[in-house]
Symmetry: C2
Subunit: 602 residues, 2 copies
């Protein structure tokens, strides 16, 4: 894993799943420089604070923050005396842990009184005690704080307290969840950089919901939600802040997900955030310009090649050193790989070749953004080919088909037949099923690493639960990938991937496929009856759709006609006829398609 050498990056342990030691290991592996220790994680850990300190040191992690202390300030005197006693215990603990900054959240207690002078006085006393332990207090306004709920208010109190061991902690969620307008953020410039003791970063989808529930369950990593976290970071850096950039994300999904991939996703989001805020240089995105090939891995080539043959593909070449065949129809290329590794998983879509104007530069960006880089040469004599792994494990090969530098990937293949007759067929889109817990990561990866543009996420009603789908594409529409996710964590393997082939006449393509012995997915007559209610078709057209199981959709830009083949292993094909202006993927028809696929598995 690439270790980042710029600004210090950190992550709160609450953002990751597992035991404290699992979280620490995952954070270190993903390249973070430090962690915030969330108190509950420490309480549940059987290691002594000194052992945790040693474990962190061993992993190369600093402990950047201990958090949180709650309901400390703005309280009656007798309560504050008890609070100081509690704080002393925690400061002793922090000394054992080797943590020198503590987070104090603004009071939410019903005991708290609305009295800034009292709050400032008590925070100054707390800071005085902290100073004895070599500790700094970072005071943060919770968005739902009882009396203090804006960063500006927290800063006024810190300024009034005027103690060297007291500063503010800024948290992007607490600031941006209040719907802050740009002018609300101008006050950040008024805070001296050295009085910003800590910066916590989180994004969130724009949900109109109770802010406490929103914060506790729906935060996400920067770039995965709707906040302008980069804009906030720019202001905080402009104010002179030079401390850690730390992620604090409470999210129900991340709590369940494997800590390892989540930590990588998290660190990638921070790197991108720094890029977006102009605080770091990464290799620029190199947007792919087309799909060179899709590669199927299969333990038994027979059903796949039967399907490809019926679809009009010709086997045009064979790899010189490996059991890989190249099948082609028009500009659509499919590799069929029968390497032994396939037996475990059945037939699946394992790799995608993307045409790139600069494969090496594209790979450099991917590597800088923590994508595992695959070995360039897989066998002696192979053309060196840049490739990285997407979050779902799909191998992405970065190609320049037809160029000589880098060498054409087809140089590894020996021709078997004449080039097939030219036809309009090409790959319209690829649909990939994502691991349930990493859907947002997948979108961010394809968007930021590959430079594709994401469309809105849509819900698709499968008979057994709601699925989600989100497409990423380049501006020309020559690369389109639909990222789908099942209804539940258990569904990772239920839904097959598919390869959609663009054709200029879906009816002819479907007929030819059927004539060649291919089986099309049957579509209920009720669906076509509904089409008749919704649209007027030329005579005979609907009857043809009915006969072939062709589905139909229309948007402002034009029509979309499509049908599906049977499924082999975990892959099927779609034949599509897309009007140039149509932007979608026939999502409105997905429930009918999914139900028909379920019925076929009975």
């Amino acid at each position: 894993m690439t270790r980042n050498t710029g600004m210090h990056t950190s992550i709160a342990t609450v953002s990751l799943s597992g035991t404290l030691t699992e979280k620490l290991a995952a954070a270190a592996r993903a390249g973070f420089g430090g962690v915030e220790i969330f108190e509950n994680d420490l309480l549940a850990c059987p290691l002594a604070p000194e052992e945790i300190r040693a474990r962190c040191a061993d992993l190369g992690l600093s402990i950047d923050l201990y958090q949180p202390m709650r309901d400390i300030e703005g309280v009656p005197d007798d309560v504050f005396v008890r609070n100081l006693r509690r704080a002393r215990h925690k400061f002793e603990l922090m000394n054992r842990l080797g943590a020198d900054t503590v987070l104090v959240c603004s009071s939410v207690s019903p005991d708290a009184v609305d009295d800034d002078v009292r709050a400032a006085g008590q925070l100054a006393r707390l800071a005085g005690l902290a100073e004895e332990f070599g500790i700094r207090v970072a005071y943060e306004a919770l968005a739902w704080g009882r009396h203090v709920n804006t960063y500006g208010h927290a800063w006024r109190i810190v300024e009034a307290a005027d103690h060297p061991a007291l500063g503010v902690c800024l948290d992007s969620f607490h600031i941006l969840s209040r719907g802050s307008e740009p002018e609300d953020l101008e006050g950040i410039a008024d805070i001296p950089g050295e009085k910003i003791f800590f910066l916590q970063l989180a994004d969130a989808p724009l949900l109109a919901m109770d802010v406490l529930q929103w914060s506790r369950h729906y935060r996400c990593f920067p770039g995965q939600g709707g906040f302008d976290v980069a804009g906030l970071l720019r202001r905080v850096l402009a104010a002179g802040y030079r401390g850690p950039l730390s992620l604090e994300v409470f999210n129900d999904v991340f709590r369940q997900a494997d800590a390892g991939p989540t930590a990588v996703d998290a660190h990638r989001s921070l790197l991108l955030l720094r890029e977006a805020a102009g605080a770091a240089e990464l290799p620029s995105p190199v947007v792919p310009t087309g799909v060179a090939f899709a590669e199927l891995l299969t333990p038994d080539a027979e059903p796949v090649t039967a399907l490809l043959t019926a679809l009009g593909f010709t086997r045009t070449a064979r790899h010189r050193g490996k059991p890989v065949d190249l099948w082609q129809r028009g500009a659509a290329r499919v590799l069929v790989n029968t390497a032994a590794t396939a037996r475990r998983d059945g037939t699946r879509l394992a790799a995608i070749g993307l045409e790139s104007p600069d494969p090496a530069a594209a790979a450099r960006r991917a590597e800088a953004l923590l994508a595992p880089v695959l070995p360039r040469r897989r066998a002696p004599g192979d053309a060196p080919l840049d490739a990285v792994a997407a979050p779902d494990g799909t191998e992405l090969f970065l190609c320049a088909t037809g160029d000589t530098e880098p060498p054409d990937w087809r140089a590894d293949f020996a021709d078997l037949a004449d080039t097939p007759a030219p036809c309009a067929t090409r790959i319209d889109h690829l649909a990939l099923t994502q691991p349930w817990h990493h859907f947002d990561e997948a979108t961010l990866f394809h968007r930021s690493v590959l430079g594709l543009t994401a469309q809105e996420s849509v819900d698709l009603a499968d008979p057994y639960g709601l699925m989600r789908s989100r497409a990423v594409a380049n501006a020309e529409g020559s690369v389109r990938i639909a990222l789908g996710v099942g209804a539940a964590p258990t569904d990772d393997t239920v839904h097959a991937a598919h390869i959609a082939l663009a054709t200029d006449d879906v009816v002819a393509a479907a007929r030819a496929f059927r004539a060649a012995g291919g089986r099309l997915l049957p579509v209920p007559a009720n669906y076509h009856d509904d089409l008749a209610a919704r649209y007027e078709f030329p005579d005979g057209e609907l009857e043809t759709y009915r006969e072939l199981g062709i589905l139909y959709d229309r948007d402002a830009g034009g029509a979309f006609r499509h049908c599906y083949t049977e499924t082999v292993g975990r892959v099927f094909f779609e034949l599509v006829q897309r009007d140039p202006g149509y932007q979608g993927y026939g999502a409105v028809n997905a429930p009918v398609r999914l139900a028909a696929q379920h019925a076929g598995r009975r």
Copy 2:
């Protein structure tokens, strides 16, 4: 399954998971009299409308509504002409289906104009066309309708249209989600009963969120959310409505869950709603007064009996005809059942005996509310004992320990030893793990069938995901059941059930357990360090807690001290010392306990 003979009950197919035919079968099995056919379910169904009609007839289901038609009214003339064409297709379909009422939702289209006269005129024309097909049009105001979003507005338009085939559909979600005050509901009385063509019922948790998202993903069955659905039903019945009571619930969880249990849950909620609205009589609840016993089913009695022995239980009796032993300590009784059926699942908490003032009456209510009634006599010579199955499959025996009529359940047991010395031990609470998709059902069941009171649901942070827990109890606190649910659908079996034993001295009980060879769950020192920061304890007390792994909590009513045994199969025990005023279950300590239990499984 008991078939209900009162008012006609119905359910929208969108409320259930699966294919249309699976949904129909589940609705019929649960005792519904009819269904609303949701259009997308029909479109995805390979059966012709006539076949669906025959299937429904076969199952004893009427088709009470076809739904929805959208964006019909309040549109420009040319759009309306196309809409009428579409409607004609749907009316033909409905004739084939045998459905005589169609739902028309108020327009959300950007084409819609704010013109009640136009809307009324177009709805009258639509109703005129419907009438030719023998169909009635039920017009419903969506809460997010573009111009028409209140039931009052919908009714004014229907009244103005003045067509016999046009009426309103009232939907509790659309009405109550707008935060309607009682006075907002007074207009219902102004609608003639015969012009209310349909009533759709749904509840929802009180979430401050976008109403469309709330409606599409978070609806629930009446009694499971925060709306006064019964109050609304009362008003609609008072207005003279005599049509079906129909559930229309869009819910992400129900979309995934098995349709069978969901349909039972749904029908139970309707029966309870009618009771709450004073529209039906059910046998009254008979609140249990205590816990007679807990029954463990185990393939190997050895580990369980070792644990019980260490906990100070004595084997006092043996069942005359079955491999079941009665173990007792004070008033806590545990049955250990080694019947062959246990081998599949390992040791588990299979049954609970509840003391009931009137077991037969309690069973009658449970049966009326669709709880499977278990055979009263399980073997010849056994005392007849009323028992029903809870939604999670736990058998609930309704007992009157010590009474002669019905006979004491202990009559089936032959004494083995003298009654053990009296002590304060009794069962404080039982904690049961619920199937993930049926958590709300479980709460409603225990609340409404058994007459227990539910406390607030709390989130518990397990290291690998958030769990939820919700306790139900009687007023005296002599019956307490904590219903828990895992973090994800896959977690059903991860979390063990437990039996909490009340003691008046948890320290003595824990010491005695350990002296007898029992193993207590180890608790990290960091936890007790935190207790020292939060509370002041008498000298030595905290050291004792530390030594024994005793956890501590406090609320306004007093303190709660508790510790845990090791887990056997899927069951463990808790020792608790509860101050009389303390109302909780130590939920604040659950993360530490869960982490320690995970660590023990490594």
